[in-house]
């Protein structure tokens, strides 16, 4: 190669390296020319069957109300739990994000990751709109408001009315013996009484929650969730013994750990199983598949076991939180006001099978089953978060593993609970 050609080649190569460097630096730099207050990034986990359709309506509504353009990345419900932690640690959090009320929010607050929203709460007059029980349990941490309750769900025994009718069952059970008797009747006719899809572990928690609540009561459960009681206590053993009774009698579907919650829902919809203990989001799933509330599905509350304990309802509260150091706090608070509004919550509640946190939300058009669920919660003596939101995340990890291990081998209650007690104590 001649000297001139060599020089030309060298120049070209240097120019290429320089251009690459400029491009890389440019990609790293913020490229937005919009003003900060006109743009908000709101991240959430209401993906797929859990709310994608609702947010296709909610975001345009909020953009119209606030004049703010929204970036709203949606992350898979399970993947969100990890992804948001990475973003928070990397200082790359959105301006606001959806989160679960309870121990998970408390965990973020304890690590200084969230900012309070008291000013937004007062300005929007939410004390008059959000029931005190929800505000106190879901929104308030250490005396300050950190979470905007958006919607909440109720876990009940959702059943296929046609299956019960065909089996000749006319009365809904109100106690444990009644439930077992109904299960025996169904099983005798070749119908699986209870469908459970616990491959993701969390669907199994509702059985544990209600068995503990109905036998030992909400106060004991609160102690267990906070580490003041132990997993090898007689109360926990007693609850698992009842669960074992149902498993040993063959009242559950084959291999619950091998199916998901939608598989269990499908079994009930097809009439292969009679009922499944699940949250009200199942109604959104069934509605989306063309089932009709009241005709194709209904629910009854988990029956009473110990008449001396309060009848509590279980369910998660989905809310919105603002991370510390959000780039657009002012804009985020405006969006929060929109999400607190009856209009936005109505969309989510109607499409997703949820109960709106804002009591001014007009849900008269909601189906009869959901209205019954909302009344059930309102009439309950207590409303508690489900297991994996009621106890610290590290402990929840231990408990969720315990549930699926128990389902796989219900004969080893002592061994399983002993191991769980040790691991939970370490996690606390």
């Amino acid at each position: 190669m001649s000297m001139v050609a060599k020089k030309r080649a060298r120049t070209l190569i240097l120019a290429g390296v320089g251009l690459s460097a400029v491009m890389i630096l440019g990609a790293c730099a913020s490229g937005s020319t919009e003003t900060a207050s006109s743009h908000v990034v709101a991240e959430h986990y209401f993906s797929g069957d859990l709310g994608a359709q609702a947010f296709a309506e909610i975001w345009p509504l909020c953009e119209q109300q606030t004049g703010i353009t929204m970036d709203n990345p949606t992350i898979d419900h399970e993947a969100f739990k990890d992804a948001i932690l990475v973003q928070l640690a990397g200082g790359n959090a959105p301006d606001l994000f959806s989160y679960w009320a309870g121990a998970r929010t408390q965990s973020l607050i304890d690590n200084g990751q969230l900012d309070p929203i008291d000013d937004m709460w007062s300005a929007a007059g939410l004390d008059a709109a959000i029931p005190a029980s929800i505000a106190d349990s879901a929104a308030t941490y250490g005396g300050s408001k950190y979470l905007l309750p958006f919607v909440y769900h109720y876990a009940g025994m959702f059943f296929n009315p046609a299956v019960l009718e065909e089996a000749g069952i006319t009365e809904i059970p109100t106690d444990w013996d009644g439930l077992m008797s109904m299960a025996e009747t169904l099983k005798a006719q070749g119908i699986t009484p209870f469908a459970l899809g616990s491959t993701d572990r969390w669907p199994a928690q509702f059985w544990f929650d209600y068995l503990i609540l109905r036998t030992a009561g909400p106060e004991y459960r609160a102690a267990l969730m906070s580490g003041e009681a132990s997993y090898d206590d007689p109360e926990v053993v007693a609850a698992l013994e009842l669960w074992k009774e149902a498993i040993d009698a063959g009242y559950f579907n084959t291999s619950p750990n091998g199916s998901g919650w939608t598989d269990a829902a499908d079994q009930v919809a097809r009439g292969e199983a009679a009922m499944t203990l699940m949250g009200t989001w199942i109604t959104g799933y069934w509605d989306g598949n063309g089932l009709v509330a009241g005709t194709d599905y209904d629910f009854f509350p988990f029956p009473q076991i110990n008449s001396d304990v309060a009848l509590a309802s279980v369910g998660p509260v989905d809310g919105w939180v603002m991370p510390s150091g959000a780039k657009n706090q002012a804009g985020a608070k405006q969006v929060l006001e929109c999400l607190a509004s009856p209009e936005a919550q109505k969309v989510m509640a109607l499409l997703q099978g949820a109960i709106a946190a804002n009591s001014n939300t007009d849900l008269s058009s909601q189906n009869a089953v959901m209205q019954k669920a909302a009344k059930q919660v309102a009439d309950s003596e207590a409303f508690v978060f489900n297991y994996d939101l009621a106890t610290p995340p590290a402990v929840a990890e231990v408990g969720l593993n315990m549930f699926v291990e128990f389902i796989d081998n219900p004969s080893d209650i002592a061994g399983i609970l002993s191991s769980t007690a040790t691991k939970a104590a370490a996690a606390f």
Partner: protein
Amino acid sequence: MTVKSGRWAALFLAVPLGLYFTFVVGPSLYSFYYGFTDWNFLTGEANFTGLDNFRRLFADADFWSAFQNTIIWTALGLVISVFGGFWLAMALSRLLILERFVKSLFFLPMALSLVVVGFIWTWIYRLDFGFANIVLRMLGYEDLATAWLADRNWALFAVIFAWSWQQVALSMIVFLAGLTSVPKELMEAATIDGARFRHQLNQVIIPSLRPATGVVISLALINSLKSFDIVWVMTGGGPFQQSETLAVLIYRQAFRSYEFGYSSTIAVALFVITLVIIGGSILANRRGAE
């Protein structure tokens, strides 16, 4: 190499080396440091705890369970990769028709990411309409049909089998390339001398494939020791940690139990284990070559 070309080489190497040190070596060294702390990922706080994490590691039943699963995976993965890849390559090298089409078909799994492989096999293993159970039922083995990924005895092996489906394709390609370097004149001479296939295999083919075998073994060891994505997608390490490997345990301790310091300790342990296994493999390969 002249001094000037050496400078140009250094200049161009600086960029990739800089990236490598920044994004690979640096974080690895940080991980070593955090393994000796109670690192809080969210706040960044990390207090030195000495050897406490390592003492905990040696007493942790979850660690030893994951260690056992990782060793089982590595051993099985190695055997399946080497033998499966070799015999597949031997069979494909003797194809007389549609050679390229068939080779492409067997190579197809390599075009998929492990996450996609995991999703495909999750559906194959389903209890109700999974292909595996459909075949078993058709063949009259109804009793053997199970929810493979929820079965405590089979979950780990089911995931290893799915992983091997892709790994064998990679091994096959390496062996196919190696087979092209088997000296034809040696094969012809062996044939003329009346050597049977078994003798040709042992005396000509296998010795000629030593470099390729070394590559397959290294790839299988590395890929099996770092197995995470396919496990996470298929079982999440379940049921109740029965299919949990060390890589999955690292992730779970960090992002589910919020034990980032201890998670780093496990990562250090995995690094040492990997060093021992890969180092041993390289030494064994060198001695064999000598």
